[in-house]
Symmetry: C2
Subunit: 438 residues, 2 copies
């Protein structure tokens, strides 16, 4: 077959322009790209000058017109934000049109509603560009790892914070200085909160979790901590102990014995995390992203690449368009969709009580430099059953000591109790930093 496919574009910003660039230069790409016709484009301002040339007859300021255009078979939503994006996606589905979207905020919050509508309508909603920019991760999770029982997905999935942390580590400069320069260079937004507070990463791990474990979780309940209170001192101490510090998003099954009939408890969180130098995620620097998937029987596989940017994200958007276009060539599906590509939920999942989630910890304590202090701290950890891997004293100045403790795996509950006891020791001035550690 050789069917032509009409594409309607909602949004012509960074990602939308990247998509147009690919569609306008089909030579040398997969031959299916030549079968795609860009027929309608919704923009905010028709008169504005752009990097890409679009005939003005294709432009409209009314996105609903794109959805309703009978020539449009696939709606590509790259406008961002929750509304009207969500309504336009649902309206496209109701019109029997498949959707490709890069919108992590909408999918992380309304993914279930959208997937259910798409399933009923027999259309696809594909979201490769929502996580990891140009890195193929959504489709591989759906189409290449389905044989596995997934145990854990962990990733560096926010380019802005990874850029900042990489520069802090390399140059030893404080957070606010690097943030300011990142904003000047275009690697951080004018309002950086969504990135540096971990909100963007939490959206993305919610999406990955749903695909990896087969059921969605409450996005707003994901424990999330960003990097804005990260001290350059901790990056330095971590380095001396053989670790780098990354903003890591994790989702993991905390009870592999759960049957499919029970709700699967997942440990999900976003937090600054020490990563040993010889770990595959440790070498991921700058705006790059990487996602490590662990499953039975595959073991550990990692996906690495540019986590953002016009070209990489457009590569992911057009990949999704090609997947729908490819399946379209088979003929009429009579309302049936490929379940592997649709990836509907198939089991219940929930976020486990954080107290039950175990992890290793990095703790920095300020204390008096007295002979017994390490013994007292060690006793407090021991009383709560917290096993210590290393305890090292870094001397900040003559009379005050900085004590860094790396624990073995313990529950958050045990750790919390030990830290309360330590904080009440007279020799200890306070817990100055507390992060996770791989």
């Amino acid at each position: 077959m050789n069917k032509r496919i009409g594409i309607g574009l909602l949004g012509l910003g960074t990602v939308g322009s990247g998509v147009v660039n690919i569609l306008k230069s089909a030579e040398g790409r997969n031959p299916l790209v030549k079968q795609l016709d860009l027929v309608r484009v919704a923009v905010r301002d028709i008169e504005r000058s752009r990097q890409v040339h679009i005939p003005s007859s294709l432009l409209t300021t009314n996105p609903q017109e794109v959805v309703d255009d009978p020539r449009v078979q696939i709606v590509v939503e790259v406008m961002g934000g929750i509304e009207p994006a969500r309504k336009l996606i649902l309206s496209s589905i109701a019109s029997g049109k498949s959707v490709v979207t890069a919108n992590k905020s909408v999918i992380a919050r309304y993914g279930e509603e959208i997937a259910s509508a798409a399933s009923k309508a027999g259309v696809y909603v594909l979201i490769e560009a929502a996580v990891g920019g140009g890195i193929p991760i959504i489709e591989p999770l759906k189409q290449s790892l389905g044989a596995n029982r997934i145990e854990r997905v962990s990733g560096i999935i926010n380019g802005t914070t990874n850029y900042i942390l990489s520069r802090m580590a390399k140059e030893g400069v404080p957070f606010l200085k690097v943030l300011k320069e990142a904003q000047q260079l275009g690697f951080a937004e004018a309002d950086p909160a969504s990135d540096i507070e971990g909100i963007d990463a939490a959206d993305k791990i919610a999406i990955l979790s749903g695909l990896a474990f087969g059921g969605s979780v409450d996005r707003e309940a994901i424990p999330t901590r960003g990097i804005s209170d990260l001290n350059a001192l901790d990056i330095d101490y971590a380095k001396q102990l053989g670790f780098c510090v990354k903003l890591l998003a994790v989702c993991e099954c905390i009870d592999p014995g759960t049957t499919e009939e029970e709700s699967l408890p997942l440990g999900i969180r976003v937090q600054p995390t020490l990563i040993p130098f010889d770990h595959p995620l440790a070498g991921v620097n700058g705006v790059n992203n990487a996602i490590l998937v662990e499953g039975e029987p595959v073991g550990k596989v990692m996906f690495y690449g540019p986590g953002a940017g016009s070209g990489p994200t457009a590569s992911a958007v057009v990949a999704d368009i090609l997947n729908i276009a490819g399946i379209n060539q088979i003929g009429e599906g009579k309302g049936f969709t490929d379940p592997l590509l649709s990836a509907s939920s198939w089991r219940l999942c929930h976020i486990a009580d954080p107290k039950k989630v175990v992890q290793r910890n990095y703790v920095r304590l300020s204390a008096d430099d007295t002979p017994g202090v390490i013994g007292s701290i060690g006793t407090c950890f021991g009383n709560q059953g917290v096993s210590i891997q290393s305890i090292v004293q870094f001397d900040a100045c003559s009379e005050k000591a900085e004590i860094v403790v790396i624990t073995h795996e313990v529950s958050y509950g045990q750790m919390h109790k030990a830290l309360i006891a330590i904080d009440s020791l007279s020799e200890v001035k306070g817990v100055s930093a507390h992060f996770a550690c791989l």
Copy 2:
């Protein structure tokens, strides 16, 4: 829909047993796994005791019986070797059955013949397990990167040699000693030639090249060099200069101006290669594999994971089965296949004249330790237009010097002429080693 799919297995060795283990434990995996029925299995010896239990009624020593069984809809070929594997694959296709195979030797040599037969019959031949073990690389190349003009694919795609090189680098032990231990540990075959001479890697890069660039090349014409003559000394010198040494397989477009109507010239080769420590491929150690794909507009994306083993390879085989099963749920395709999944050739490609392929070089020369020798060597390179990045003298003993040169990118032709001139210098005893360098 909820169609059941009959699976016929050709071979019950390491990979076949891994596939059976997945099919027999569907709980917790993608729900489609439950729709797969293992209905017939061809083995060499029915009486042999095995790790996996299969009812004897399913077993046969005649593989053609599996292909001909009307209950078998997907034939899984994991027997290996060229024949009868090739004939059985073609026979399955002729019977209108899709095929999943892990057989890199057959696909690298007869991929074109097999793809053409599959296209005519309207069935799929999927090969995820043929390259990179459990790493999703074949499907992502086909289904997630089609929007790109691929520029280069380079990879560490042989686990045995990577295991040997990793240990040589870490422990400073000679090749033959590590090989012997690798054989004892099961990381190398009793007859290791296919791995250590680069034959296995050349098979795999031939397959990746066909998918990345859209056309096959003559497998037997791929310049291939293994690691059997690699001296531990060069690994040590490379390390001192900031590089590790890997067996790297590369395919790259050497003339991006080529139109789709012309045959695309590809630089393809397998050879020991110096990789800078900060390169994403440098951290790939042991039996792990990694493949770096560079394209426009995605940039660089990398896929990393276990390159071999029962579980990982079975994960890839079952992923392919699920892809076919998933598409099967849509309904009758009336002989049409999804062109993205079929991935037929769509342009002509050929292996470029190796003299025209440019790369950086590492050269080790044995020379007299005389004042003018570096000048003479530098002049010989300069006369051939070979630009040098660094030239370092390592003193092996009092009167003989070891001189290591790292060049900028030059053609093989220029390099060859320069080395002939250098070899004829009276102060130079000979070219002791010559590898590629990233």
